[in-house]
C-alpha cells in the first residue's frame, strides 16, 4: 500500500486543456472518491493515475516515487473498469490469475491467492465459469477479485457500479466498502453518483470542468460546501437556491419576503446573494412566519413527502417526514432552520462565511 500525491497535474488533448492543475493528497489506506458530472475530468484523472493516459504537466507520486513516465505495469496498481473488462475467453479463475501468470509467479502461489480472493468475494463456486455465464453482480465481483489477487499499491475503480440495476448497486456499494475495510489498500474511486460518494468515501473530491471544486470528508462537504456547485451537487434532493439581497441582518427574497439569518452569517448590507436551503431543513409554518410558496407537485415516497413548490419564479423542493398532502396550487408557508442556512456570493457563487 502507498500514498498517492497528485501535484498540480494537468492534461491537454492537443491544444485543449481538460485538467487544469489538480492537486490531491491521498493517504495510505484512504478511500477517496472523485465525483462530478460527466465530462468533469474525473475519469481522465483516474486513467492518468493508472498510466493509460499521459500526464501533460505536474507530478504524480505513488509512495515516494514520481511515476509520471512509468508505464502502467510498473505502477503496481489494479483497476476495476466500468464494463468490468473481463477477458471473455478465459474462465473466472484464469481472469483472476492472468496478472500473476504474466509475472511468472509459481503455480501454487497463484492458486493460493486466487482461491483466497475468490473466498473473500464468494466466487468459489464460479471459478470454472466463463464471464458470459455470470450475472452483472458476479462479473463485478470477478473484476474486483482480479484486482485483489494482485495485492497492488493502489486500487482504482472507474464507475464500477453504473452498469448494475439500482438494487444491486446498493448491495455492491456495501460490499466494496466492507471489502476495503477488510483488505485495506489505498483506493481511488470515480463516480458521478453523489450518494455513492457520500456513503463510501473517507474523502470526497468534487470536480467540475477539469477543476477541483472542494476536497473534504462527506459530511464536511454536506455541511460546509465551499460554493454553489458543491452545495447543489452533494445531497439529494439538491439544495434549493433563492436569489435576493441582504438587508438589516435578514435575507430579502425576490418576492420581498424576509428570512432572518442566523448569528454569524455576516454579509454586507445590500449585497446580492444566493441563499441555500436543503429541502430537509424546511418546515411548514403558520401565517406570519417563513415565506410563501405555491405547490406545484406533491410526491409521496412512503417514508417522506417531497413537495415541489414555487416562490415567485424560483422552484424549490421541500422534504417532510410528516404526511402533508397539499393540493396543487395551494399556497403554504415554509421556514428554514436558521442554523442550516448557506449564503453564497451572487456573482461568484462562493460561500460567504463570517
Amino acid at each position: 500500500m502507498a500514498s498517492v500525491t497528485i501535484d498540480d497535474v494537468r492534461k491537454s488533448f492537443g491544444v485543449v486543456e481538460v485538467i487544469h492543475g489538480v492537486s490531491i493528497d491521498i493517504e495510505d489506506g484512504e478511500f477517496v472518491v472523485l465525483v462530478g458530472p460527466s465530462g468533469c475530468g474525473k475519469s481522465t484523472l483516474l486513467r492518468m493515475i493508472a498510466g493509460l493516459e499521459s500526464i501533460t504537466a505536474g507530478a504524480l507520486k505513488i509512495g515516494s516515487r514520481i511515476v509520471n513516465n512509468a508505464p502502467a505495469k510498473e505502477r503496481d496498481i489494479a483497476m476495476v473498469f466500468q464494463n468490468y473488462a473481463l477477458y471473455p475467453h478465459m474462465k473466472v479463475y484464469d481472469n483472476m490469475a492472468f496478472s500473476m501468470k504474466l509475472r511468472k509467479a509459481p503455480k501454487d502461489e497463484i492458486d493460493k491467492r486466487v482461491r483466497a480472493a475468490a473466498e473473500i468475494l464468494g466466487l468459489d463456486q464460479l471459478l470454472d465459469r466463463y464471464p458470459r455465464q455470470l450475472s452483472g453482480g458476479q462479473r463485478q465481483r470477478v473484476a474486483m477479485g482480479r484486482a485483489i489477487v494482485r495485492d497492488p499499491q493502489v486500487f482504482l475503480f472507474d464507475e464500477p457500479l453504473s452498469n448494475l440495476d439500482a438494487k444491486l448497486r446498493v448491495a455492491m456499494r456495501t460490499e466494496i466498502k466492507a471489502l476495503h475495510q477488510r483488505v485495506g489498500g489505498t483506493t481511488i474511486y470515480v463516480t458521478h453518483d453523489q450518494i455513492e460518494a457520500m456513503t463510501m468515501a473517507d474523502k470526497i473530491v468534487v470536480m467540475q470542468g477539469g477543476y477541483v471544486e472542494q476536497i473534504g470528508a462527506p459530511l464536511e462537504l454536506y455541511d460546509r460546501p465551499d460554493n454553489m456547485f458543491v452545495a447543489g451537487f452533494i445531497g439529494s434532493p439538491a439544495m434549493n437556491f433563492l436569489r435576493g439581497r441582504v438587508q438589516g441582518g435578514a435575507f430579502i427574497t425576490a418576492m420581498d419576503e424576509r428570512i432572518p439569518l442566523g448569528a454569524g452569517m455576516g454579509a454586507d448590507e445590500g449585497r446580492e446573494v444566493v441563499l441555500g436551503v436543503r429541502p430537509e431543513h424546511l418546515t411548514l409554518v403558520g401565517e406570519g412566519q417563513g415565506f410563501g410558496v405555491d405547490v406545484v407537485v406533491t410526491e409521496p415516497t412512503g417514508s417522506e413527502v417531497q413537495i415541489v413548490a414555487k416562490h415567485g419564479a424560483e422552484e424549490l423542493i421541500a422534504v417532510f417526514r410528516e404526511r402533508h398532502q397539499p393540493a396543487v396550487g395551494e399556497r403554504m408557508r415554509v421556514a428554514p432552520d436558521p442554523s442550516q442556512l448557506h449564503l453564497f456570493d451572487g456573482e461568484t457563487g462562493r460561500a460567504l462565511r463570517a
Partner: protein, 310 residues
C-alpha cells in the same frame, strides 16, 4: 420456404447433381454418353489412390521417380492445388493479420488507407491477372527492371518468371496472395474492432507486453473470425481458375495446373465431359474436409456460447 427450395434445387443441386452424374459417364461434347460406373475415377486416380497420393508428393518434393497407377497429370494437379492452397493461404493469413493489426491503429488518413487496401480485391481478377502477366513477362517485366536498377541483376540477365516450373508456381502464388490479402485484412480488421479497448487496457494494467496482449487477448478473441475467413479463403484458393488460366494455362509442363483448370481443359477444351466432371467431383472431398476442419476444429468456442451453465 418453397421458392427458396426451388431456387436452391435449380441453381445448386441440379448443376451439382448433373456434374456428379456426368462423372459416371463417358459423355463427350455433343454425345450423351453411357454409364461407365467408376471407370473415369479409376483412370484418373488409379488402382491405389492412396499410394499415388503419397507417390506424387514424394516425386515432387524429394524428386523420387515412383510409377503412378493413375493419371500422372491428374495427380500432379492435385499436388499443385494443395501446394497452391496451403502456401498461398498461409501467406495470406500472415500478411492479412499483420495488415489488419496495422490498420487497427490510430493513424492519419485512416479511412483512405483502409479503402486503398481493398483495391486488389475490387479489381476484376482477369484484369489484375493481365497486369501480372506483364509484370511477369520475361523481357518487359518491371520486376526485372527494378532488380536491374538496384544492381541485383546484371544488365543482360532476365528471370523466366512463368517459363520455369518453380518460378511459375511462385509467381502464381504471389499473384494470388496479392489478390487475396485485402479480403482477409479487412475481415480481420472488422473482427479486431469488436474487441473492447478496455480489454487491452485491463491487460496493460495486468502487466502484459504488446506481444503478450496479442498472444493472450487479441489472437484468442479473433479465432472465431479467423476460422470463418480462412475457411472461405481456402475454398476460394482451392477452386481458383481465372488467375492461373490467364497467367499460365497450367504450364509449364503442367506445373501450375490446378484441379479446376485441368477439369476445364479436359472437360470443355478436350471435349471429354465425363473426365472433366470426374476431376471436378474429386475436389469435393478436399473441400468438405476443409470445411469440417474449420467447423469442428476452430469455429466452436465455449466462451462464445452465451447463456446457461455449461
Amino acid at each position: 420456404m418453397l421458392p427458396a427450395a426451388a431456387f436452391l434445387l435449380l441453381f445448386l443441386a441440379y448443376p451439382l447433381g448433373l456434374g456428379v452424374y456426368l462423372s459416371f459417364t463417358d459423355a463427350r461434347v455433343g454425345r450423351a454418353g453411357s454409364w461407365v460406373g467408376l471407370e473415369n475415377y479409376e483412370f484418373l486416380a488409379g488402382k491405389n489412390p492412396l499410394w499415388d497420393f503419397f507417390a506424387i508428393i514424394s516425386n515432387e518434393v524429394v524428386g523420387t521417380k515412383y510409377e503412378l497407377t493413375g493419371d500422372p497429370v491428374f495427380w500432379l494437379s492435385v499436388f499443385n492445388t494443395l501446394l497452391y492452397t496451403v502456401v498461398a493461404s498461409a501467406l495470406k493469413f500472415a500478411i492479412g493479420l499483420y495488415l489488419a493489426l496495422l490498420l487497427n491503429r490510430h493513424m492519419p488518413f485512416k479511412a483512405i488507407i483502409r479503402a486503398v487496401v481493398l483495391v486488389p480485391f475490387i479489381v476484376p481478377t482477369v484484369l489484375s491477372a493481365i497486369a501480372f502477366w506483364w509484370i511477369f513477362d520475361t523481357n518487359f517485366s518491371i520486376l526485372t527492371w527494378m532488380l536491374r536498377s538496384i544492381g541485383v541483376l546484371g544488365e543482360k540477365e532476365v528471370i523466366n518468371y512463368l517459363g520455369d516450373p518453380l518460378n511459375a508456381r511462385a509467381s502464381v502464388i504471389f499473384a494470388n496472395v496479392w489478390r487475396g490479402v485485402p479480403f482477409i485484412a479487412i475481415t480481420l480488421l472488422a473482427g479486431l474492432q469488436t474487441v473492447s479497448p478496455s480489454l487491452y487496457e485491463a491487460a496493460t494494467i495486468d502487466g502484459a507486453s504488446r506481444w503478450q496482449i496479442f498472444r493472450y487477448i487479441t489472437y484468442p478473441l479473433l479465432t472465431p473470425i479467423i476460422a470463418v475467413v480462412m475457411t472461405f479463403s481456402v475454398l476460394f484458393t482451392f477452386t481458383d481458375f481465372q488467375l492461373i488460366w490467364v497467367l499460365t494455362r497450367g504450364g509449364p509442363f503442367n506445373s501450375t495446373h490446378l484441379m479446376a483448370t485441368l477439369s476445364y481443359q479436359s472437360g470443355i477444351l478436350g471435349g471429354r465431359l465425363g473426365d472433366g466432371a470426374a476431376i471436378s467431383t474429386a475436389m469435393i472431398p478436399f473441400l468438405l474436409a476443409a470445411i469440417m476442419f474449420s467447423w469442428f476444429g476452430l469455429q466452436r468456442r465455449k466462451w462464445q456460447h452465451g447463456e446457461g451453465n455449461d
